[in-house]
């Protein structure tokens, strides 16, 4: 079940150093990259069906094309602001194979015509950022980056200051420009992101790290994995009440229960599975009885009323209190709402405070109604998808586990 494309070198000792990385195939794709015209590379990415692996799942090739076609000096920004509870896959790349990311950045820059790249690393990822910086330094020393490289690419690592919202690409760019990390208003027609007014590609670490395999082996080799609509693999992460929490790469479309069993080592202490939050905290929870045929791809989880998100599964066993689980999540959203839009700023704090009433068993039946209508007020009325995600989380818990909340009503 384990399928190693991006994670191929993870277990090799010192794989973060250039010597070891070179021995294990890093930078070998660049020869074939530079032999091709940039547009050919974009076409290969399009054919491969590569989808953004930061949670949205948008077609990567189209994004490359839009930035490539836009006039201006182009930037590639790698989103390493991995802050979603339950999601911890990108840090594995930063820690165990940073040269794969650098290789991917060089290929991407060449494909879209950029010479400058930023990696925006989550503030709390200091240790991983240091490893990445060391790798970037080595790459400069050996002329994979910088003026003496065959194709000029500069990489600057920028550490965030500890805000979840800066993982939202437009907030990330605001932050990178030195402003408050507030998401921007969405464009009215297809256009790239803009960094200081210049066309910019923003992609997740794993997406960029998937580029070398695709351009080296061709779109068909990538499509050999996964499903028709969700091709390739994903670094799925698993945490919660399982025996072997961790990051295990697998093809899209594998059975969720099988994944939990085989790679996650099954539910801890032989308990029964109660529910799974399938793709990071922001995806609606799914109860065990819906999961018999659940498959880990975008389409299947959407059909089940949730979303694949980043593929970071949080597993809850039969002992888990759903009221406490929701409180845990809402405390996070309360803390992380950027405060720009009214429904999110006020809604995320109010919903968290309402949950306290359930925890303290002081809630009334009206509180449940308020929570439901509040969730409605937060959905689809804000600049970014933070509030709709909170709304989806609340709705998911109330839809499947309302009786546990009613038990807390005095």
């Amino acid at each position: 079940m384990l399928t190693k494309i991006v994670s191929k070198n993870f277990e090799i000792p010192l794989s973060n150093t250039l010597d070891v990385a070179l021995k294990n195939g890093r930078y070998s794709s660049l020869k074939s990259v530079f032999e091709k015209e940039p547009q050919e590379l974009i076409d290969i990415i399009k054919e491969s069906g590569l989808r953004g692996k930061g949670g949205g799942g948008a077609p990567t090739g189209n994004k490359f094309q839009i930035v490539s076609d836009w006039q201006g000096s182009k930037y590639v920004v790698v989103n390493a602001d991995e802050s979603e509870p339950g999601t911890f896959k990108d840090r594995q790349i930063l820690l165990y194979d940073p040269h794969l990311l650098i290789e991917g950045i060089i290929a991407t820059c060449y494909a879209i015509g950029s010479n400058c790249s930023y990696i925006y690393v989550r503030g709390e990822y200091e240790e991983f950022s240091d490893v990445l910086q060391a790798a970037v330094d080595e790459a400069y020393e050996k002329n994979f980056l910088g003026n003496k490289a065959g194709y000029l690419v500069d990489i600057t690592i920028h550490r965030g200051a500890g805000a979840y919202i800066c993982g939202e690409k437009s907030a990330l760019l605001e932050s990178l420009e030195g402003n408050r990390g507030h998401p921007r208003l969405k464009p009215h027609s297809p256009e790239p992101e803009f960094y200081f007014g210049e066309p910019t590609l923003v992609n997740n670490v794993e997406t960029i790290a998937s580029v070398p395999f695709i351009v080296q082996n061709g779109a068909g080799a990538y499509r050999a994995y996964g499903t028709e609509k969700s091709p390739g693999t994903l670094l799925f992460a698993i945490s919660g009440n399982v025996n072997r929490p961790g990051v295990y790469e697998a093809e899209f479309g594998v059975s969720m229960l099988e994944y939990i069993e085989k790679l996650g080592g099954g539910v801890r202490n032989g308990k029964k599975l109660k529910a799974v939050i399938p793709g990071g905290a922001s995806t609606p929870i799914l109860p065990a009885h819906l999961l018999n045929d659940a498959r880990l791809d975008y389409e299947n989880l959407r059909a089940l009323g949730s979303s694949l998100g980043t593929g970071g599964m949080i597993v809850l066993d039969e002992d888990a209190s759903m009221v406490k689980a929701l409180k845990n999540l809402l405390r996070f959203y309360h803390h992380e709402s950027c405060g720009q839009c009214t429904p999110c700023r006020e809604g995320s704090s109010w919903s968290d405070k309402i949950l306290d009433r359930f925890i303290d068993k002081k809630a009334t039946a009206a509180d449940l109604d308020i929570l439901k209508s509040l969730s409605k007020s937060m959905n689809g009325k804000t600049i970014c998808v933070f509030a709709p995600a909170v709304s989806g989380v609340i709705d998911g818990f109330l839809k499947h586990f309302e009786e546990e909340f009613l038990e807390c009503v005095k």
Binding site: A163, I165, R180, L185, H188, H334, H335, E336, S337, C338, G339, Q340, C341, T342, P343, R345, E346, G347, S348, S349, W350, K353, I354, D356, R357, T364, A366, D367, I370, S373, K376, S377, G380, K381, T382, I383
Partner: protein, 447 residues
Amino acid sequence: MKVIINDTPIECKEGELLIDVMLANTINIPHFCYHQDLGADGNCRMCMVEIKGQKRPQIACDTFVKDNLEVSTISENIREVKRSILELELLNHPVDCPICDQAGECKLQDYYMDFGLYDSHLNTPKTKKGKNIDLGSNVILDQERCVLCTRCTRFTSNITKTGELGIIGRGDSARVGVAPGHELNNPYAMNVVELCPVGALTSKDFRFKQRVWFLDSAKSICHGCSRGCNIHIDYNETKYCDEKVHRFRARRNSKINQSFLCDYGRLSYRELNESFSAKVSDVKDLRELLKDVKKVALISPSMSLQQLKFVKEFCQNRNIELFSTAYIDESFSDEWLRTNDKSANFAGVRELGINSCEEEFFNSLKNAEVVLNFDHKYLKENKIEAKSLVQFTTTNIETGYELIFAIANFAHESGTVINCDGIRQDFYATKYSDNNPLLIELLEELK
């Protein structure tokens, strides 16, 4: 091109924002963060409308008009959306309207009456924030009343580019503030009070002085410099005895001052309230004085065109040499609204051909036996010797002049002024009466 708003077709132009079309056609569209001179920010979410063919409600401040776009601001669905967002705006608000200066002109109050009228659902403690914070420049901040529309921070960031104000903290602890050790300090700072749609920013100069529903308003022009910024003079309605100007507010004029005023101009209303203590002379004595002697007159370049014209004819008929010099102060001017001439109508002086040569004025002054001063600052502030000086003044003045006549100031007399860019603008008198006669009436008596 037209849009259809609430089933009514409305003419509009390509590239216009839906909210601008609505505001121009007085369609009630609640909004906090959008401001015509600050642009859209999209954070308050109050201006949501229903657009045919769109699944979700959209904000009118970020929607460009399209031909035959069908919009509803009154459907049951969109009213519910607005009600729910308003409820969140007000959730942590202290609802202290009885002691809030904004009451009566507060958007939260207005929208609650328009779209709210719900019972409070709040079942948890309110978030506490800072109160009565003196930001500097006469601006007082109450963070609990703030709806975080960022109009004030956008003003200091984008308009004055002084950047004193910012949002500190995030989520429900986000609040407007200044950096530690800094204060709001720029010549336009008090605009933030007027920009604030709620009671978060209030003016130290105006707060607790008068309830806004006791105020009436006249359309006028600021006389602080030659820019000619458009203002509202807010004054007590006559029935509330104490007839007094309480404040100037900016009146939008996209060609001159947009929606802004400088603090100097804004506070220059104080001159209009000066009480007159000097003894006023008899007009008969003036008639005596104007007999066959050499006379020279100086008139304030802030007088209206009508006044200038009248005085000019008056002087011609009586063989009085008339001058008017500008109030030049280079230190006052800046690159935005403030000009180097602190008079309102020097362009009018030029247009009427009144002599403005300082040198010639001083030469004439040497030989004159009688000097008439029509409210010009120079002869009010500087002593001249051995002359019979007649003062016509709008402000209080010390005694020691041959004759003193108190005349009504520009709040009491409608007129026209021409600004530094040659724009001719009318201003209108307030409705309250002044004890002092209008200059023209006074001079008529001499005929």
